[in-house]
């Protein structure tokens, strides 16, 4: 990649930057995206440190044990964000819940990106019958009402496999259609280039052409898509957990914490129980979206900033 940018250029006195360096500079200059990055990293670090922070944050660091004597306490010195209906510290659960929500989002994103890239690049590269078969299949997957099928699949698989991984797998397996379509269209355009023809004509095997030549040029699109997907898959987890069909209820996750808002008395009179997860979900989603937009801007050679 580094040499690619320089070859076409007329002789210059100074060495021109690689596309990645230009993108990095553009991204660093984007204030909103940078602030979002800092925020997201902070959230990730805090959630990762949850086991170490918990004992300092509250007198009851246990996130699953029910404390009848400490039910629904409003925020105070001992409990910065109060306690929930089972007497568990909201702040501590928020940190632990973040681990689950971010883990589900990240793992599902990984599945989606890997599946979508494989299907999309194979379909785009080979074309013809392979392409139409794979794309019909993609249409087929895209045609399912996502929420309905996740709930149905979750009901069937419940108890057979560990709940958290069922959720990740189901979300991942139902969401790769969009990435596959985008990667395919990019590969279709990219493979018209002469260097691909050259690679094929000297006998490079298809897998190597895809991995070594095509994918690096599609990578920027995949990165942007993955970022935006990360946000929407966190939404998927929290939304499903809110409905009661996501992460198993005894495991704290942001969605499970927000699900307390289903009880009218909590929603109306005890906002400290549901508002923190609601706000942190919104802030996280927003910041990931800003990062995604920033990346899209930075990786687009035509954008001015």
């Amino acid at each position: 990649m580094t040499t690619n940018a320089a070859t076409g250029a007329v002789k210059r006195t100074e060495k021109s930057s690689s596309p990645w360096a230009i993108a990095r500079r553009k991204f660093l200059r984007n204030k909103l995206a940078m602030a979002s990055t800092v925020f997201l990293i902070l959230v990730i670090i805090l959630t990762l440190l949850a086991p170490f922070l918990a004992p300092h944050l509250s007198p009851i660091p246990d996130i699953t044990k029910v404390n009848i004597s400490k039910m629904s306490i409003p925020p105070n010195g001992d409990h910065l964000l109060g306690t929930d209906k089972s007497g568990r510290d909201v702040m501590t659960r928020l940190l632990y819940g973040g681990r689950i929500s971010l883990l589900v989002g990240a793992s599902a994103t990984l599945i989606v990106v890997v599946l979508g890239t494989i299907v999309g690049s194979v379909a785009g590269f080979f074309g013809g019958a392979v392409d139409s078969l794979l794309m019909r299949f993609t249409d087929f997957v895209l045609n399912f009402p996502f929420l309905v099928f996740v709930i149905v699949l979750n009901t069937i698989l419940f108890g057979i496999v560990d709940g958290l991984w069922v959720l990740i797998l189901v979300i991942g397996l139902l969401s790769w259609g969009g990435v596959a379509r985008i990667v395919r269209s990019k590969v279709l355009a990219e493979k018209e280039n002469e260097y691909v023809l050259a690679a094929i004509s000297i006998g490079t095997p298809p897998a190597k052409v895809i991995i070594k030549h095509l994918l690096p040029n599609v990578l920027s699109t995949i990165i942007v898509q993955a970022t935006l997907l990360f946000a929407s898959l966190i939404v998927a987890e929290t939304g499903l957990s809110y409905l009661g069909f996501g992460v198993p209820q005894e495991t704290p996750s942001w969605g499970n914490m927000l699900a307390f808002a289903n009880e009218p008395d909590v929603l109306q009179g005890k906002p400290w129980i549901w508002m923190p997860p609601a706000l942190i979900i919104t802030a996280t989603i927003l910041s990931i979206n800003f990062i995604g937009e920033g990346l899209k801007d930075a990786l687009n050679p035509k954008s001015q900033r």
Binding site: N143, L147, V148, V152, L153, G239, F245, I285
Partner: protein
């Protein structure tokens, strides 16, 4: 155009077939008798179950069972709800009008708001008003609908008392009166707004960008040179070009409303198909679950079909593709 439409409709049939096969096997994978709901789940006597299985044809080959299920489904026999002991079709028929009312109100709100805001933003880009609308749009697109819904209930129903927080109509009011309909509209406003928030935001943004783009086209300059007032150019010349793509979104809306209705109805305890679906899953009323799953999947397919056909009407190039 007729050929294109026919091709699209025919193209949908294999998809519908595949979806129905998947739903059928999911139903088979579900515990109990989730296709017809005739076997009493509380009766665990093995002889009774074996007898009922034989009677209902569960020992037949799979394709025979599939054929029977599909033909029954097409003729409106969705099996029997194990929870309410009544045909699923009746159960759905009872709740469906509520969901359709919610969806239509949501679409109306979406189009009116998007139209008003998009027109304003498109005509006055980069002004304070445009930036405020852009801010709203960003929030509408990024904030998950259930978070927005929960906050909406908290502020507008509990704190401000503007809207009821649950149900679809006040219980005491007689059916058919004007108050009855006013109450229904009152109940549906907030959920409909939350349900339509995402599309409102994306349509506004789309209309705005399209208006700005079109206002730089040559035909606008020509019209200006001929002395047409700017207001008329916007309302007649530009809008006509920008509004067409917006219409084609209608099909995708139908698909999006399917998923959105489940979450929105749950937040607002609005008694429609979505809430029935969730309740049925929780109460292991699998015949109802599978019937709704099949129905919603078919609706998504029909939505996409409508989108395709509208695209074909709007853009003749697509018909040949």
């Amino acid at each position: 155009m007729l050929k294109y439409t026919l091709r699209r409709v025919l193209g949908m049939i294999p998809m519908l077939f595949l979806v129905s096969v998947v739903v059928f096997f999911l139903a088979k994978a579900m515990p109990g008798d989730s296709l017809s709901g005739e076997i009493d789940p509380t009766n665990t006597n093995p002889e009774y179950i074996a007898e009922m299985r034989e009677k209902l044809g569960y020992n037949d080959p799979v394709y025979v069972q599939y054929y029977r299920w599909v033909t029954d489904f097409m003729s409106g026999d969705f099996g029997k709800s194990t929870r309410y002991k009544m045909p699923v079709a009746d159960l759905i028929g009872e709740k469906l009008p509520n969901t359709i009312f919610l969806a239509l109100t949501s679409l109306l709100i979406t189009y009116v708001l998007a139209f008003a805001m998009g027109m304003y933003s498109g005509r006055k880009p980069y002004t304070l008003g445009d930036n405020l609308i852009a801010g709203f749009n960003y929030a509408g697109i990024a904030i998950p609908s259930f978070v927005a819904g929960v906050f909406a209930v908290y502020f507008f129903a509990f704190k401000l008392n503007w809207f009821p927080f649950a149900g679809s109509v006040d219980i005491e009011i007689d059916k058919g009166t004007i108050e009855y309909w006013m109450s229904r509209i009152h109940h549906v406003m907030l959920p409909a707004f939350v349900l339509g928030m995402f599309s409102t935001a994306s349509y506004t943004q789309f209309l705005r960008n399209d208006l700005i783009e079109n206002s730089r086209k040559d035909f606008v300059r020509t019209a200006l040179a001929k002395g047409t007032p700017m207001g008329k150019i916007y309302n007649v010349h530009i809008l006509r070009n920008s509004i067409i793509p917006l219409v084609t979104f209608l099909g995708f809306d139908i698909a999006a409303l399917v998923g959105g209705a489940i979450i929105t109805e749950k937040i607002f305890t609005y008694p429609g198909i979505g809430l029935l679906f969730l309740d049925s899953v929780n109460n292991r009323d699998y015949p109802t679950v599978m019937a709704i799953t099949m129905m919603l999947s078919a609706m998504v397919l029909i939505g996409n079909l409508i989108a395709d056909i509208l695209y074909g009407i709007v853009d003749p190039r697509i018909r040949l593709g």
